[in-house]
Symmetry: C2
């Protein structure tokens, strides 16, 4: 059977998995899962009720971006995205968690979830306190990306890794909503342009969410 990814629109965690599948050159189908419907068949695959869920070619079910990405890197170890040196692996995972947990909680959830999901689900206007907090927290995080990339080729070291994948997946969702002040953060922008030019990233730039157009620069590699 063909590998299938259950994902969500502008779900940064689904995007992490899509990039890693692309980096590893693996074929897969995608199915949009409307998580708020809480389908029993989906809950049976992942009791948390969240995307992403990956069903592998032999039917094995995996859930959670961090778990799936580690699994894909271990099952396709060529060109590792975690690193071989133990300290590089720890640094990669530290930054993966930074963007996948801390950045998501402080920024992406406040901006993307507030604006996008409330609109889709008819839950009323976005919470202005959350939106303000999201923008305020974005600044120091973009500065941290600049800080790291001024000292290293990629976020966790010399090689492109799950840290870059996690950070770019989050930023790509914010960028779709035109929430990133690129001119103010040239080093972060330079790093993001390099991620954006990777073949694994192209499918994300083709995403079109019904009723919500991205800004012109979203697809542009030279933004």
């Amino acid at each position: 059977m063909i590998r299938t990814l259950y994902h969500g629109w502008l779900s940064p965690f689904s995007r992490e998995v899509r990039i890693v599948l692309g980096e590893k050159g693996l074929d897969f189908d995608m199915v949009v899962e409307k998580v708020w419907e809480r389908r029993p068949e989906f809950l049976a695959m992942n009791p948390t009720g969240e995307v992403p869920v990956l069903v592998e070619t032999e039917g094995q079910v995996l859930s959670g971006a961090g778990v799936i990405c580690e699994f894909l890197d271990e099952s396709h170890p060529k060109d590792t995205l975690i690193g071989s040196d133990l300290l590089v692996r720890a640094e990669t995972r530290r930054l993966r968690d930074w963007f996948g947990v801390k950045f998501y909680t402080e920024v992406t959830r406040n901006l993307v979830d507030e604006k996008l999901y409330k609109q889709f689900m008819g839950m009323g206007a976005p919470d202005s306190v959350a939106i303000r907090a999201g923008h305020e927290n974005l600044g120091p995080n973009l500065a941290y990306i600049s800080y790291l990339t001024e000292r290293r080729r990629w976020l966790a070291g010399e090689n492109f890794s799950l840290a870059d994948v996690a950070a770019a997946a989050q930023l790509s969702c914010l960028d779709y909503m035109d929430d990133i002040p690129w001119p103010e953060v040239p080093a972060a922008k330079d790093w993001y342009a390099r991620v954006k030019s990777r073949p694994s990233f192209q499918p994300l730039l083709e995403d079109l969410i019904p009723g919500l157009k991205p800004p012109k620069h979203y697809k542009n590699l030279d933004f």
Copy 2:
């Protein structure tokens, strides 16, 4: 130099690392870090400002329970706590995240942080809505532990793993506050008794937080 763990009182994440260090038979010193003081030297080691932070024998600095435990398992691979089979490894990590992220957010933070840290920091009475949410979320999570341990020897499969470590670390903090209705959940209690009897767990049972005594059964292996 001696390995040093910067930890916090009733910090479930610090406890995860303490158990793993014990399982691996590694010597270490412990230093209580009052994270709310935001010491510059500590922030330089971990910009998130959170415990645990582990300084290794050659001065390498690691932060975050998940990151540190993976590092310790990779650097001391004998008797792996993650597993060798790729799907077991994924299941271990799924459950580590379940307890380290979801359970912590839904339960431990609402109960332990509300009651303990507000008291220490003179932040007033605990928020009764948070306390109620914590207790309500605890039930389904204890039921999930029972469900898993009725089907498997340990949470992620046949072997004791980081999943058991993460779950028991969270529960031990709640148990110190006498927040677990053990008589109602015999299967979860049986599993916890088995974790509690491991030598790596004994130091946690000796913890005494100034001004806050644990219930009598906290230390008792036959509770």
